[in-house]
């Protein structure tokens, strides 16, 4: 008789009314039946969060990009305080990452009655590409690089070698904040180095194109800043592009990469590669990353629905062994 997986059995809520329990037969078969029932229940709940209007992401990305462009003449003509411009540009950079991220997962749809994750039309593909490219310009990341490395992060989450975001690991929040800066230093094997390394290892035509785009963006950004600066607009370039990009990237690395995956030594399984945590900064400032487990389980659920999806899925997650104790039982 095969060994009973007590670890699995212990995590199952045996009182849940989800499926007939195959008892007193083979206990392992009973555990499997329960797990299958849990999986079915999980999928049924998750699918309820797939549909919904994604057009606000497209509108926000377009409006954000237009506003960001407008900040240059507004700052140059002294129509806006450079510090205010810097703040607005930083928010646009962060927001752009969020809208671009939906594009990375192909979640944007022309036809809102269709679920994300189902087959895309050509128009859907173009919409995701467009939103992705324009959203990420303020933080100077080519969409192809972001998409390929982000999918690698999902596929190999918390793998020290194959997860391109693993370099953000740090023992505490202060060290993590420091690392957001340190990992951007020219001689450090930080984010840029690891993204390049992972893209080279992929070896696909898409990854090669992404590397070319990365190089073009790197040199293009330098050229654009230099042209703006030497034509007398250095302060505008610094306050609308260079500094907001630094601030936005630090926020993104800390909030979207370090916080939900800390301490990165967790199991690599789909239920264990993120953590559920209570943020001191609140839901909005932490961009809902407390519920990042939902994103890793169902990347096609758009970010604004992760919180609701978490509370709907919480009993299933807890049955699967996810530690949800950091958050209250109900929102």
């Amino acid at each position: 008789m095969s060994k009973i997986d007590f670890d699995i059995a212990e995590r199952i809520d045996w009182t849940a009314d989800v499926a007939p329990i195959a008892w007193p037969g083979d206990p392992e078969a009973a555990a499997r039946t329960q797990l299958r029932a849990l999986r079915k229940e999980e999928l049924a709940i998750a699918r309820g969060f797939y549909k919904g209007a994604s057009w606000p992401y497209a509108v926000i990305s377009l409006a954000g990009f237009a506003t960001w462009l407008a900040l240059f003449p507004l700052t140059i003509l002294h129509l806006i305080n450079p510090l205010a411009a810097c703040l607005v540009a930083t928010l646009i950079g962060i927001g752009g990452f969020i809208t671009g991220h939906e594009g990375m997962h192909g979640n944007l749809r022309w036809n809102t009655s269709k679920s994300a994750g189902k087959s895309q039309t050509r128009r859907d593909l173009l919409l995701n590409e467009w939103v992705g490219w324009i959203s990420l310009i303020p933080i100077v990341i080519p969409f192809t690089v972001a998409r390929a490395t982000h999918i690698a992060h999902h596929t190999h989450c918390n793998d020290p070698v194959r997860d391109p975001d693993y370099c953000d690991h740090a023992p505490n929040s202060w060290a993590a904040l420091f690392k957001t800066w340190y990992n951007r230093q020219p001689g450090v094997q930080g984010v840029q180095y690891n993204y390049g390394r992972v893209l080279r290892a992929m070896g696909t035509p898409e990854a090669e194109a992404a590397q070319r785009h990365g190089l073009l963006y790197h040199l293009g950004f330098l050229a654009a800043l230099s042209i703006l600066a030497w034509t007398g607009h250095a302060i505008a370039a610094a306050m609308v592009w260079w500094l907001p990009r630094q601030l936005a990237l630090s926020y993104i690395r800390f909030t979207f990469s370090w916080a939900p995956h800390h301490p990165r030594t967790q199991a690599k399984g789909r239920y264990g590669n993120t953590r559920v945590f209570r943020s001191r900064c609140g839901h909005l400032l932490s961009a809902g990353m407390q519920y990042h487990v939902i994103h890793h389980l169902y990347p096609n659920i758009m970010i604004h629905k992760n919180k609701a999806a978490f509370y709907a899925l919480r009993p299933v997650l807890e049955a699967r062994g996810v530690d949800c104790s950091a958050l209250p039982q109900r929102d």
Binding site: Y182, P186, G187, L219, A223, S226, A229, A234
Partner: protein, 64 residues
Amino acid sequence: MVFVMQRLVKMTPFLFGIGFIAPLLIQIMALGGFAGPWGLSRAAFGLAFGAGWGLLAVWRGRWL
């Protein structure tokens, strides 16, 4: 070509120093009404500072 690009990327802190830091410093000094130290013009000081800091970043691998 790859070699040239690699060298170019390696030198970007220096290029950033003369391309961006230098004019930024010059314009900040002009805005604050500061003259260049040691009898240098703002442009000469900005370029020396930007190029020096950029070269240091290339050499050390860090800006600070």
